[in-house]
Symmetry: C2
Subunit: 377 residues, 2 copies
């Protein structure tokens, strides 16, 4: 099938670019001698996951629906990298029992750590038929704040050791951090500086736990920008980047991919042609209202021809209703977009935009060669 | 099941409020003597649709997936109220053939109108076994711009009559407009003024078509604010409001519902407690980054206890990552939100937020009494 024949709006993945992005990150992990545990929240697709993972089939997820989806499809070493609550542990256990997967969970909260330690005993007992074996069940990670100030305890905090001690009876899998503040960086130099903050915070936290006599085997870091630009990963054991598989306008703007690396886009139809703008059938429910490009001279997405050639007026999407997107020129030229024309929209943020669709159409040299289903939840 | 036991994040609908909102709009349509053709893009749920529609089972949809979903479930009189493109007509036909539904489509483009007139013949022939009966197939609406400047031709434009003449061989179902600019209005008086603009533009367009000797039986208008505040619907035959079934913070802010009318909310868990904020498990993929409250002193949603009582600090959601939402106090009080606490988030824009979920949990007096599936596409 040609791209022109796709039902619109739909999500398209360029296979050659995707494979190149996956190979690049695998090479980076190999060069640093660390495990690659790609974050699958970007694609929520087993087909993309199979390209992203290396020989070691392990991955990171952002919801328990993702955990169940990937576990059922044979990815048995998963980390659910969003702070756990006690009542979600039962669902984690269910997924593990149904699939045989091992799902790491994380906490930055002492009260929750104590609750996990209690239920961790339960998990161990269930797993091995009633005999607890806490040391072999260490799958609880401690989340470290390396500067993003979202989740995590500070590497120098008292809370770090309080949590480690609470978990000691069932073991600490390791420490984990995400330098999400790398998204505010601009250019390789600044990103490299944040990568070093990320690495040193995580390594320092692990060292403090070990100095307290508690085992802390793993040190997990990762965001796409920091994974690409880190100079050293000394002391780190694994990397968890996510959006690199697809790339997007935002990653290109901060220097974390080239425009030609962007493997994900949306195909839309022009449904309205007015004097000063056009309207497409990709609105907020296709593109999302991600505003990451606000400070970077962008809007909601860039519009090109299906073959990626430029269109007159260098159009972009500047306004979104539920199912309508407004396209305006960014140059002095007039738009030439007739009703029925199919266009390609490159979005700001691939993770969010991809999540609006239930499948990817896989593109190779302008032909659609496969359809890959994806999870919505 | 109690609300406390819901998996988070999830979407909750208050049945009593929903029923009240539906009854109110049915009464408004009855008072004006017009057909109610509710827009189902808000709920994408047959259960909500069945409450929203009156005895006349007709509705409006925003995607062809919605058209197929509702047609399969017995709503056989539908309007697909987004500008059609020629290549989508085949899918419209497929849905009609599979379900027996009749799907109105709309255009504001003369070239597309000519294409529709050609394929309209095809539709008529297929529908009645090879003999064309164009006059009985009039299901093509002309979209009128009543001030939103998104889709539609002006009521006084030459294009209006050009399109009407192009469609004449297969008949014009009517004219249709949506005063989306009512969303920029503040208060009942201003909304009433826009409602009159909406009405008069649509009626005037119909009169011009009729004066040209072309039948134009229907005049369709509607948005939630204008439907609620219109003083007269003289000359109008149907109303197409949508979001009134649920209501949201934005509709309350502009005076199109009361806070106590809001029937839709999201239940989330607190997953992180920091000095100056808390984090919940409802991020951009649960709440959406709708910014309609930007100019109205809002953020991404208001946070209350599950029973809707106020929480210390009058918290709201002010930042969203993919699966994390940040909650901050809006008063001088400190937040008291421990990890694991369940909260209720009232969102800015119910249509977009509801679209992030695959089901509604239906609430009655704090108990979950039903689960209603919903369409994602």
């Amino acid at each position: 099938m040609k791209l022109e024949a796709l039902p619109t709006p739909c999500a398209v993945v360029d296979r050659a670019r995707l494979e190149k992005n996956c190979a690049r990150m695998q090479a980076i992990a190999a060069r640093h001698g660390v495990r690659l545990r790609p974050h699958l929240k970007t694609s929520k697709s087993i087909d993309v996951a199979n390209l992203a993972m290396g020989a070691e089939r392990c991955a990171t997820v952002s919801t328990l629906e993702e955990a169940a989806y990937f576990a059922e499809r044979g990815i048995l070493d998963l980390t659910y990298a969003v702070g756990i609550t006690e009542d979600k542990l039962e669902r984690v256990l269910e997924i593990e029992r149904a699939s045989g997967a091992r799902i790491g969970v994380l906490t930055d909260d002492a009260a929750t750590a104590r609750a996990i330690a209690r239920s961790g005993d339960v998990r161990a007992k269930r797993a091995i038929g009633g005999r607890a074996s806490p040391a072999r069940e260490a799958r609880i990670w401690i989340e470290i704040d390396s500067g993003q100030h979202r989740g995590g305890v500070g590497a120098e905090s008292d809370a770090l050791l309080e949590i480690a001690r609470a978990l000691e009876p069932i073991g600490v899998a390791g420490v984990l951090t995400h330098a999400g503040h790398s998204y505010a960086a601009r250019g390789a130099g600044e990103i490299a500086r944040i990568a070093e903050e990320e690495r040193s915070a995580a390594v320092r936290a692990a060292e403090r736990i070990r100095a307290a006599g508690i085992a802390c085997p793993e040190v997990s870091v990762g965001s796409t920008p920091t994974a690409l630009h880190a100079k050293s990963l000394e002391g780190v054991t694994e990397l968890r980047p996510g959006v690199y598989v697809f790339g997007d306008l935002f990653q290109a703007a901060i220097g974390a991919c080239a425009n030609d690396d962007i493997a994900f886009s949306v195909v839309a139809s022009v449904i309205g042609a007015r004097e000063d703008c056009a309207w497409i059938d990709a609105g907020a429910l296709a593109l999302t209202q991600d505003r990451s490009m606000d400070g970077l001279g962008g809007a909601y997405g860039e519009v090109t021809a299906l073959d990626r050639s430029s269109l007159r007026g260098a159009p972009r999407v500047d306004r979104l209703n539920q199912v309508h997107g407004r396209v305006v020129a960014t140059s002095q030229e007039r738009l030439e977009l007739a009703v029925g024309t199919k266009v390609r929209v490159t979005p700001n943020h691939a993770c969010l935009t991809a999540a609006m669709f239930d499948r990817y159409y896989v593109e190779e040299d302008g032909e659609i060669v496969a359809e890959w289903p994806r999870l919505r939840g």
